[in-house]
């Protein structure tokens, strides 16, 4: 089933650090799966758990108000590092449907979009305002509207975010990119004939 996303209103969690890398999102030892399941266990594992495996109470994802949150608000350059698609799979497995950051690492952004996890890059000022509003009220409902290309929350501005129009259209309509590429078979064959060594 190709992923689909139109709009989402949900609770959000803030991880304010800059440059959260894919090794933090999902450490490498969890990459030995051969399917997409079971990755939620590894999500932010080193930050969520003590060395003995017990949860770290102070980590935002472990706080009671985190239950049911579907949006992650993270510092700039979220998802830098590895190309592992396990990062968006783990976030989706952990219940997240959107990440809001001032900007994203390129490969992560592409991987997220291909799986229906919306990377919403909003201006740093709006991002700071959202983080502050969530600090005031952790239960604040935040809306990520892919159709309109805005993030909004009660009392906040309409914070616009740009999404590659093709990826956005695929998500809004639930179009399968692989099917779309396969339909280009004649063009690909023509290219191969023209460039045969």
């Amino acid at each position: 089933m190709p992923p689909q996303f139109t709009t989402l209103t949900a609770r959000a969690i803030v991880l304010p650090h800059a440059d959260i890398d894919t090794d933090q999102i999902i450490p490498a030892r969890f990459l030995k799966v051969t399917d997409r399941q079971g990755l939620a266990e590894g999500l932010f594992h080193a930050w969520r758990r003590n060395a003995d495996g017990t949860p770290r109470a102070e980590f935002p994802l472990n706080r009671p108000e985190a239950a049911g949150a579907e949006i992650l608000v993270a510092g700039p350059n979220f998802g830098c590092g590895s190309s592992r698609e396990h990062a968006p799979w783990a976030l989706l497995g952990g219940g997240f449907r959107a990440v809001i950051s001032p900007y994203f690492a390129d490969i992560f952004r592409g991987n997220a979009l291909k799986n229906g996890l919306v990377p919403a890059a909003i201006a740093p000022e709006a991002h700071a305002a959202l983080a502050a509003a969530l600090e005031q009220d952790p239960a604040l409902p935040v809306t990520v509207d892919l159709q309109a290309g805005v993030v909004r929350w009660p009392g906040g501005p309409n914070a616009p975010f740009a999404t590659d129009p093709f990826a956005r259209d695929c998500l809004l309509r639930g179009v399968d990119e692989l099917g779309w590429l396969l339909a280009l078979h004649p063009e690909i064959t023509a290219y191969e004939h023209a460039h045969a060594a």
Partner: protein, 465 residues
């Protein structure tokens, strides 16, 4: 007037349907065990075949133990390795498995066997695919969904990136290497500085580098956020490729070289922006933090978060220093080291091993330090052994292993214990990258060797004669 990047891009556009990204043809697809199983599963579910098995090459590197073969892997790792063997067999894709003399880290074997050539588009489900850009190929990492796209259609969907020139003027001084150039660049621009861009490395210092040094630099382009890094092909490139197993031969070689000579950026071609560094001012570099942009000259001192320009920068630096157990203002020189790792697709090739072995010849690994030397491929291992480098490392008390990713990513059992500090020639010092709780200092092979023999972070220039 076009840049190298623009020329390769233009030559690979299959289609540009309105509103969609470009459909880019891929000349070479490299595959390994960690990021491919779910992609092969997509093809199997949909009854699709691999479109171009002959443009696809697979190897085992991430999960494969560097001693003891499949038996030494854990159950999950072994399952992954066997699945790659089954998937490649079913689809007619050549595989370098445990017993293949061509086996090695995916970004080491591509160039080594002449698969990687100027002007190509190359992808792999691995961010360090940027390595291959050293040959003037447009090479970038992709996710697993895209691995399935390439297996089934030999194409990816791409928006054209910005083209950023990174010019390295001047000449390196003795004891300063390609690794120090890239660490200095990352310290300058930060880990997000190249986001949305493709680097082209130019300038006198780049021209003077051999192919292995150029690969080290292109390898870490991704650590600056750039998906790809390129170096224009020149006589150094052609000399490296001549005679390699998969490079063109005879008349085809002459034709290829003539074509490759047309690839370099035209004089006056415009880049979106430029960054300039002077190689003659560089020192050996080490990282002090938890991302590759948190680096400094080895003789410097750890920065003070209080001097950070913004709150987020301060918080990140504080967190990094807390993890690394370093204090602001502290020198890195003299800091004790538990482990030294010489390996990874950044620095595991013959010249890297030679440089480190020269420093270790006649010296011993310091008491209490563990040094692991992991050649990038079985071919590198054989070549090093033919020169006697293994005997130098072993005589010094280092561990000489089979090839693989090893402690770069700590998936195969080679890893740091919590709290241990490693000087590592790999590319990522992220928290826990080399084992949960492990602390990583990135450096060149020379600096790593100097740390091994002294037991602490040491300026390699003080040990060179």
């Amino acid at each position: 007037m076009r840049t190298l990047f623009q020329k390769i891009w233009d030559a690979h556009v299959v289609a540009e349907p309105p509103g969609a990204p470009a459909v880019l043809y891929i000349d070479l697809h490299l595959v390994h065990e960690v990021t491919s199983p779910q992609a092969f599963a997509v093809l199997a579910e949909r009854g699709l075949r691999v479109r171009q098995p002959g443009r696809t090459v697979a190897t085992m590197d991430h999960s494969l133990p560097t001693r003891g073969g499949y038996e030494a892997a854990d159950d999950a790792g072994r399952k992954q390795l066997h699945l790659l063997a089954a998937n490649t067999r079913a689809n007619g894709i050549p595989l370098h498995d445990l017993d293949s003399p061509g086996r090695g880290i995916v970004h080491v074997i591509g160039p080594e066997q002449g698969h990687t050539q100027p002007g190509m588009t190359i992808v792999c489900g691995d961010s360090h695919t940027s390595t291959h850009g050293a040959f003037g190929a447009l090479a970038f990492g992709i996710g697993t969904t895209e691995v399935a796209h390439v297996l089934a259609t030999q194409c990816v969907l791409q928006r054209r990136a910005k083209n950023i020139e990174v010019r390295i003027d001047g000449r390196l001084r003795p004891g300063v290497t390609a690794k120090d150039i890239i660490l200095a660049l990352l310290a300058r621009i930060g880990v997000g500085g190249g986001t949305g861009g493709v680097f082209e490395y130019t300038g006198e210092a780049i021209r003077a580098l051999d192919m292995e040094g150029r690969m080290t630099i292109c390898n870490m382009s991704i650590e600056g956020g750039a998906r790809a890094g390129l170096v224009a092909p020149d006589d150094t490139t052609f000399a490296y490729l001549a005679g390699r197993a998969h490079a063109p031969q005879g008349a085809a070689w002459d034709q290829a070289v003539a074509h490759w000579r047309t690839l370099p950026s035209d004089p006056g071609a415009a880049y979106d922006r430029s960054v300039v560094l002077d190689a003659s001012e560089l020192e050996p570099m080490v990282t002090f933090g938890t991302n590759p942009g948190q680096g400094m000259p080895i003789t410097g001192s750890v920065p003070d978060p209080a001097h950070a320009t913004d709150a987020a920068g301060r918080a990140s630096l504080e967190k990094a220093l807390g993890y690394m157990r370093l204090a602001p203002g502290q020198p890195m020189l003299g800091h004790p080291v538990d482990v030294v790792f010489l390996g990874s697709c950044t620095n595991s090739r013959l010249t890297d091993l030679r440089a480190a072995s020269r420093m270790m010849d006649g010296r011993r690994v310091a008491p209490g330090v563990r040094m692991m030397v992991v050649p990038g491929s079985q071919a590198v291992k054989a070549a090093a052994e033919a020169e006697g480098l293994d005997r130098i490392f072993l005589a010094a008390g280092a561990d000489w292993r089979e090839s693989g990713c090893s402690m770069c990513i700590a998936m195969n059992g080679d890893q740091l214990a919590p709290g241990q500090l490693a000087v590592s020639t790999s590319n990522r010092n992220f928290e826990g990258r080399q084992g949960a709780g492990g602390r990583t200092v990135l450096a060149s092979p020379l600096t790593a060797a100097a740390a091994a023999v002294t037991g602490c972070i040491t300026d390699p220039r003080t040990l060179m004669n």
